[in-house]
């Protein structure tokens, strides 16, 4: 997987994860182009489109679009599955996730994604394991917060 984008129906970017390095300018350009292309597509259309030499797989969940760019011989259905898995994880973690959860806890959303995918490859397929890892890290985070709330 080359990158993953999350954006709202209004075209606002909510999350972006790049597994292939691009300069910021290029990233912005790609993001803009993709958002407009995808938002222009009608709901009944298929979730795949060919874009430059990549394949774009996207899916809409409520008001959020999840969009992944994969290479030519990658499996589209598998990518859809990854997206779905991610949505499920967010849902489990936040408890029926909504766009606001991701806006306000965007770092958690990133952490979750990092557990699921490393370097663009699926790392952990078990939802249980991901949630366990996240919970452990959250705990760790709280402990260190608890140590000294205003440490110097």
């Amino acid at each position: 997987m080359q990158f993953m984008l999350l954006f709202s129906r209004q075209g606002k970017l909510r999350l972006q994860k790049w597994y292939v390095a691009h300069p910021d300018k290029v990233k912005k350009k790609i993001t803009r182009e993709l958002i407009t292309t995808i938002l222009a597509r009608k709901p009944k259309m298929s979730s795949f489109l060919e874009w430059k030499d990549l394949k774009i797989v996207y899916k809409r969940y409520a008001s959020l679009y999840f969009c992944c760019a994969i290479e030519q011989d990658d499996n589209e259905l598998l990518t859809l599955e990854v997206i779905h898995r991610y949505v499920e994880l967010l849902d489990k973690y936040f408890g029926s996730v909504c766009e606001l959860d991701i806006i306000f806890n965007f770092e958690k959303a990133y952490f979750m994604l990092d557990e699921l995918l490393v370097g663009g490859e699926v790392c952990e397929t078990s939802k249980k394991n991901v949630l366990k890892a996240i919970a452990a890290q959250d705990l760790l985070q709280e402990v260190s917060y608890g140590d000294s709330p205003y440490e110097i």
């Binding site: 259309m45 011989d73 990092d114 952990e124 110097i152």
Partner: protein, 1172 residues
Amino acid sequence: MALRKVKGNLERMFDKNLTDLVRGIRNNKDIEMKYITQCMEEIKAELRQDNVAVKANAVAKLTYLQMLGYDISWAGFNIIEVMSSPKFTYKRIGYLAASQCFHQDTEVLMLTTNMIRKDLNSQNMYDAGTALTGLSCFISNDLARDLANDVMTLLSSTKPYIRKKAVLLMYKVFLKYPEALRPAFPRLKEKLEDPDPGVQSAAVNVICELARKNPKNYLSLAPVFFKLMTSSTNNWMLIKIIKLFGALTPLEPRLGKKLIEPLTNLIHSTTAMSLLYECINTVIAVLISISSGMPNHTASIQLCVQKLRILIEDSDQNLKYLGLLAMSKILQSHPKSVQTHKDLVLQCLDDKDESIRLRALDLLYGMVSRKNVMEIVRKLMTHMDKAEGSNYRDELLQKIILICSQNNYQLITNFEWYISVLVELCRMEGTQHGCLIARQLLDVAIRVSAVREFTVGQMALLLENANVVMGPTTVRSSIAEVLYAAAWICGEFSQLLSNPLSSLESLLSHKVISLPGYIQGVFIQNVFKIYARIVITAEEEEDKETIEEVTNLLLERLPHFTSSGDIEVQERATCLMQLVNSIQKGIQNCEKFSLELQELFAGEMNPVAPKAQKKVPIPEGLDLDGWINTPPSSDLDDDADDKEFFGNAFKKDLFTKAESNGDNSRKDSKEISEDELQKRREARKLEQANNPYYVKVSSATHSPKFQKHDNDFDNIPVTPLNLNVPLKLAGMTSVDKYLIVEGRQSKKHKKHKKNKKHHQASSSEEDVPDTLLVNRDIGEMPEGASVSDEEDVDTRPLDDPHRALDIDLDIPLSPTEKIPTRSHRESSNINNKVPIEENIMTSNIKTDIEKKSKKKMKGKKESKLTKEKRKRSKNVEKSSDQCNELEKEAEEKIIDNYLNNKSDASQSKSKELTNLELLLLEDNNNGLQQENGDSVHPPVEEIIEEKKSLDPVDKNKKKKEKKAKKEKKSKRSGRKESFKQYEEIESPKEYEDFKEEKLPNMKSLTQNSDIKVNYHASFEHPCTDLFIGFEITNQIMNGNIGDLSLAVQCLQSLQLMTQNSSDSILITPELSAMSSTIKQLRFQVDDDSIPLKLRGTFSYKLVLDILTSEGNLSVVELVEETASLYGQSLRHHHICLLAKMKSKSLYVDGKSDNSTLLANALDHLKQEFHRL
């Protein structure tokens, strides 16, 4: 200090946290920009504080702003600070920010190497996990090289969580540092059998990704994967494995045969669509790779097609799309099995989703037959009329042409119909494929002689109505290309023109001037052809009036073109103008020109193979690049020539891409080879004048049909309308007409069928007999050249990282192949261990360091002394602490060196063993300290502190104050190395050699990244004298080594014979880069029958050491003669230096966020160097 703390905490309470920021942005939608600018200012202020918590908060906010599209690259250092925090909370935030905004070219990344290494090796598995995930996002070539070993070590971590991530990260490492692949691969392979399914799956992922790019190197893994495939139930992994097999089978057909069965089983059994889809894909790949001869070959194809049909019929658009996609793959190898599903594909053409329609279009290509081509093309054309986006329309246009032209027009039975289709396609608004249509027109006109007359008629019409056809949007549309073809066809086959005079007029119309230059050029050339035709005909008919009329027309219109800005148009027009002028004069003298004119364009025009021109052999002795004449001062003339032959993109296109068309430079290679070079220029000019597009006059010229058309076209009203909408032109045939005709024919056919049953039986329905003779040759080629000799090239772009990963993994590893542990860097690591952290550490941490540094009193005392002297900041301790560690670590290395000295008779009659143990303590810190103790100082930290207004008393002073300067020589310490060497000195002859400067049999004693020491030992008469010669080589690419000396600890039985009594011997004051020096030392041995151990220490100084020590900078990166250094002042002012060694002088370039600091630092270094 305490006050500051309290203040910091108080301030923190009022800081915005991330939630506040997000909320603020949402509440200030109207003035978002302004609000964010304000927030940025706050963040910058927060980053200036010492509190890590505040910084982390600021960095978290920055990460959010980065997502909104704001540039946060300026905060790179701060992000690294937060990353380096020992608290997981902050580390996590820091790594997140880094993974979001760093990329491989981020400069600050070079500062992170050691910090990341520390995190990777952290006891806390989540620290390591965070580092691994972060690294996967921003790994650079250098990081990959430096950390490859650490990541590889993590492959055998006890925690599956770490193993899993490390495995996946290895892939990124390989991409950036291909050298790691071979040494790391065995470990990776082990992970395929890891007890943890997650790790196993990760390993499969990585190997699959690697193998997809370079499958041939992974064939040997097939059995392992086969076993995994048949045993695993993890669909995620299965998909990857099956994909891997898809990449492997083309290389090994036997594998394919073995795969079919398990794959078909999976296809039957699985309920997961993704797995099903992957299986089908791989089965297709297998079936493509293995030729027929499989028993259940058709069965599996049928199965696939069947399953795909189910996918296509599914209401889910995604499955439909993928079904069509996979179907088109089958189409390539097994068109027959797909053709039965034509109904389905046609149905998909009407789908609402454009991408599905496009996929269906791809399939259509293989479904067209002679019988249905007209019907399908008509359907596509109606789609084209309805289509909204010009993209889709262009796609349709391309597909129509592709379908019709496939296999040299195999499917076309009626070429008049095809020409009409093409003419109709010209009317498509704003298409980008004008060129494609033009090519088709040219191709058909040349290949199908029977349809030429019709084509010429249509083209003449096109030309006459050029303005209508093209509409006012000419400029942007590529449809003008069609006029290029039209003009050429009319000129080349001018004998078929019904009304040459009117065609001539339309070619010379003043509107032509608005066309692109190269099209105008073609126009003029063809004007000449038509003109010649008219003159020839008229002369035959003794029609002087027509000749005069035409000549005058040309003379009247051509001046428009002779003044053209386009060089080609100008030249051609001027040429023609001169010719016409002379003809006019000739006519007045009643001369006849038909013979000459006929000669000009004589010759048969045949299709030319696509690469024909490229394959024309260059005659011997011809240098295409050399000047024919020495270039004149203004090379305008040559430019024109160049343009004529090479400058025209469209023409080049025609040569290289078009299947075949008129060879527009009918170059005869033999002729050229015989021509003298000087004549060639003239010949070329002549060639330009001669129109290359010409077919010799055929008898068809005066066919009766010619007259018939005349009447029709005379009636065409020429209406110069400026309308956007292309109009249907009277006289131009419509495609539909042919369908009706076809219909009638088929009806007639049916009627005849009954009568002529026996005739029908012989010819199959599919095989409609060719009514037209089509030249289906590949085209003319130069003698001896064949079309198919193409090189097999790697099509991947040069910068594709996967190219470098094409590494054979089956060759056993050689001992030299291992991931470098970067001895050079590691040795300096002791020196600058975790440099950033330590530099970042603020005063509160210093106490810590102080404790540590007590361990080594001496160093501390020394630093304390200087501290008092120079009022330097406490940071010194830190540096000296580094130094102490260094001393501890740089433990003595023992080189046991047994010299089994076979002595000869003169020494001793019996064989004696002289065992010398040379212990070399290489470049130990102490050595140098003793030697030039004066210059030994703790590292310098130059700090310019801008005193803040914390202390009210100081408020007035608020001046920049050089707080402290410290110096210390810290040496690049040798890495702990120990090795034993056993060797035999074989022959006594060496004694003689030994006296010479060159030492023949040097044995390696020790080496590090800087120097290499070889030695040679031998006995001299009397046998109590032992000579040891050292050859010291400076291995630094471009750096001098200074003050190289050797200190030997003498033993009682082994005394060093020196003039002075000092402990160390100066070997050389300076050793330049890559050079070596030899020093011979004489030892006195009392008793040569006992093993002796000789200890010695080499010490030396490097330029870089001076830099690092004098500036208290840490080496971040070292590439050959360039080094980058980084340091930070107490006030967190960053300073970066780039030092370059160029032809013995040192260039230092610096950057800092405080220019005064930078200036002072550079000044200081300069002084130091001068002092030295």
